[in-house]
């Protein structure tokens, strides 16, 4: 080994790193200790000056628009559920969403989506990337674009976090040409949030620090000879993992008061929402929560009865909690799914994939609260007004949090449009 200037102990960077480690740890602990459900909101000026966040609740598999945002009661396509009034006069949603109905004044609906893609994988790609694409890796997903667009040099946490029910690790390959720095980092809502985040028995902090000092030294030397984005990505991943370890308390929802945990509920979804709220408080630019398995080709109504109930109460509490803490005005909420379900009720009392006329809900930052964009015909078969698709939505999401969706990314001298330049945002949906 060439000793070079490697000094495992007493190095000024080492000392700074340790000070930073302790500082971050203390800062994190302080924030956690200050949390409480529906606590007094921070001052408006304080919140307004903070970074924006986007939270996507992804209902994987395709929730039925009839049993959620665009009910058609008493019609042959409508199913057996009624529509109920919301807090916005004239807006009705499914009776399965009584709690969310009380938050509709903080939300908006788009009922006129026609995305022309009924395949799960491909539809998933297009709603996440805002492009017509066959490949999941061709364009960066919304989370990566937001992480880059809202990036702050001094921000200690990943900008793109995906929560999982249980402990999880790794990161998603969803940043395309933006690079892995903006890919999703997977964390869990249980078991302390971040897996493998504690040092193995017998390895002290000091010894671990020496290992990393050596790694950094070797990286710097190699990087001086080889110009490689991959090396940068590895280095960045290591450093990000260290920052996660240093701030793992932020991901531990058991540090919330028990009444807060009880309020969010014991479901996997409730726990993920509570984790998301903690991350929003830390100004993480993008958080995604998965609520999976909505692909009800069979028994659609029975399953929606249970699944929507599992979604409704914790989600409504999440919206209320963010609002009362003053974070909703800086947080865009999106209830995303890959397509809707068929108006036709099939022989198994299921609904199949349907992308010609479906809906999403969104709210919070930058959104015209109480808005309903577009409509479908009486039976929910076709869009009859203000047809839009995933591309318009992608522009809208970005504009809502102040990212110029008409701009370009400059990647090694090449220009990449941030969003599909053929269309623009849904202007009337923007606040």
């Amino acid at each position: 080994m060439d000793g070079g200037n490697y000094r495992p102990c007493g190095d000024i960077e080492h000392l700074l790193g340790r000070r930073q480690f302790m500082g971050d740890l203390l800062a994190g602990t302080g924030v956690v200790a200050g949390s409480s459900l529906l606590a007094s909101a921070a001052g408006a000026g304080e919140i307004a000056g903070r970074g924006k966040s986007v939270v996507v609740v992804y209902l994987n598999g395709g929730i039925s628009q009839f049993e959620s945002w665009d009910p058609k009661p008493h019609l042959e396509t409508g199913g057996p559920f009624k529509a109920i009034q919301t807090t916005v006069p004239g807006i009705h949603i499914s009776e399965l969403l009584p709690h969310t109905a009380k938050q509709m004044h903080r939300m908006a609906l788009v009922r006129s989506l026609n995305t022309k893609q009924d395949d799960h994988g491909l539809a998933n790609n297009l709603v996440r990337s805002g492009r017509m694409t066959q490949s999941a890796t061709e364009y960066p997903e919304l989370g990566a674009v937001v992480a880059k667009g809202l990036e702050r040099a001094d921000f200690p946490l990943p900008g793109h976090i995906a929560t999982m029910p249980a402990g999880a690790g790794g990161r998603g390959n969803n940043a395309a040409y933006l690079g892995p720095r903006y890919g999703s980092v997977n964390v869990g809502a249980e078991k302390g949030g971040v897996v493998n985040a504690r040092l193995p028995d017998g390895l002290t902090v000091t010894a671990d620090q020496r290992r990393h000092d050596w790694r950094r030294f070797a990286d710097r030397r190699f990087r001086g000879r080889v110009d490689s984005a991959e090396i940068d990505a590895y280095t960045q991943t290591y450093e990000q993992a260290l920052r996660l370890m240093e701030r793992q308390e932020l991901f531990d929802i058991t540090r919330e008061p028990s009444r807060v945990q009880e309020a969010y509920g014991r479901s996997e979804f409730g726990k993920q929402l509570l984790l998301a709220r903690r991350l929003v408080e830390q100004e993480v630019p993008f958080v995604e929560i998965q609520h999976g398995g909505w692909d009800f080709h069979h028994n659609n109504f029975e399953f929606h009865l249970h699944y929507v109930a599992d979604f409704d109460r914790p989600f409504a509490l999440f919206v209320e909690d963010l609002a009362q803490r003053g974070h909703l005005e800086r947080t865009l909420l999106i209830v995303m799914t890959e397509f809707g379900r068929t108006p036709r009720i099939n022989t198994g009392y299921g609904r199949d994939h349907y992308s010609r006329a479906w809906s999403i809900a969104l709210g919070g930052c930058g959104i015209q609260h109480g808005a309903v964009i577009g409509k479908t015909d009486a039976k929910g078969v076709e869009v009859t007004d203000r047809q839009v698709d995933h591309r318009h939505l992608f522009h809208t999401y970005l504009q809502a949090v102040g990212i110029d969706s008409a701009g370009d990314f400059d990647i090694a001298g090449r220009k990449f449009p941030v969003a599909d330049p053929a269309v623009g945002p849904i202007q009337e949906l923007l606040a």
């Binding site: 692909d295 069979h298 029975e302 399953f303």
Partner: protein, 332 residues
């Protein structure tokens, strides 16, 4: 030799669809009146359709405000009881020229799922999404008993033959046996093999329907099992017989030779012996004690309920395509 309760000789191999009456909306349930004059079916257009069996004359009975899921007749056939996803129990004069509900009872919070009439005609029992079983006076509609104990949706209810005791089944695979005075549960049977759970979110299957054998010695629970993909509907139909005196489960009735992605929506015992079960587009017949289906009669559309005509040779079936069909299964 015919069994003591049988008036007919069955000829399952020759069984086939004999009548086919159409309605433009999916049918969920059907019952034949005990006099054999009418057959009624509940539809997702919120109506009950009544057909005169002799001539096929169809009459709409409008009164519910959601899918009509459960039907039953008084023993004399003069009164029809109906239950729907509007949570209401309606009483009707069966043969009225212009039928209107003669009594409307808000019976359950949420969907009403099951309905049964006692053999003496004095009681009507209902159950629903509110996990309750309720017992009503057939004479004046008064609530007589409310039975609590199901941990989730109560799917079906049935009177124990010759008594005011009840059995009720729920979506998570429990059968509750209730004493006649309703003061306590006599027994609880757990039939967990016909219940499946998707993560922590949603139960699937459970006790879809219940029925007793002619001699009252066997209770049969029908539903589904062998689930490989619940949202995709990959499951198999099944009926589980239970010895009524001991509570012991006997070998299941299945379709072993032919894979069917189906639920057994109803299983009933024919007086001549075989068990009849509707599953997918098929009507299955099992000899008692024989696990695999003896014979299957195909139909053009998925079947969601069935009922046997008092003549014991015509089985009426309610179909997803809106048709009510009858299948001749034997001869007098």
């Amino acid at each position: 030799m015919k069994p003591p309760n049988a008036k007919v000789t069955l000829d399952l191999v020759a069984s086939k669809v004999m009548t086919d009456w159409a309605h433009p909306s999916n049918l969920l349930c059907c019952r034949v009146d005990p006099t054999g004059k009418y057959v009624v079916a509940g539809a997702i257009d919120h109506t009950i359709q009544r057909w005169e069996i002799a001539n096929g004359k169809k009459t709409t009975m409008a009164g519910h405000q959601n899918w009509v899921r459960a039907l039953g007749f008084s023993p004399d056939g003069k009164t029809l009881y109906s239950g729907a996803y509007d949570g209401r129990l309606l009483f009707w004069e069966t043969g009225a020229e212009n039928p209107k509900p003669v009594r409307e009872i808000p019976a359950h919070r949420g969907w009403l799922r099951g309905l049964a009439v006692s053999g003496d005609g004095q009681l009507v029992a209902t159950c629903g999404n509110d996990r309750l079983v309720r017992v009503w006076s057939a004479r004046d509609g008064r609530l007589l008993r409310e039975l609590q104990g199901h941990p989730d949706i109560a799917y079906c209810v049935h009177f124990v033959p010759g008594s005011h005791e009840l059995v009720s089944g729920d979506i998570v695979g429990n059968i509750h046996h209730w004493k006649a005075d309703g003061t306590e549960r006599a027994r609880v049977f757990e039939i967990k093999e016909i219940f499946f759970h998707i993560g922590d979110l949603a139960p699937f299957g459970g006790i879809i329907n219940l029925g007793f054998s002619q001699d009252g010695r066997t209770l049969v629970a029908s539903g589904l099992h062998k689930v490989s993909n619940a949202p995709g509907g990959n499951r198999r139909p099944v009926a589980v017989p239970i010895d009524w005196s001991t509570g012991e489960k006997r070998p299941k009735y299945e379709s072993l030779k032919k894979d069917l992605d189906a639920t057994m929506w109803r299983a009933l015992h024919h007086p001549a012996g075989p068990l009849i079960g509707v599953m997918g587009k098929e009507v299955g017949f099992w000899n008692p004690g024989t696990p695999d289906v003896t014979h299957m009669t195909p139909t053009p559309s998925e079947i969601f309920d069935c009922d046997l005509h008092p003549n014991q040779i015509d089985l009426f079936t309610a179909h997803h395509d809106g048709h009510l069909r009858s299948i001749r299964i034997g001869r007098a």
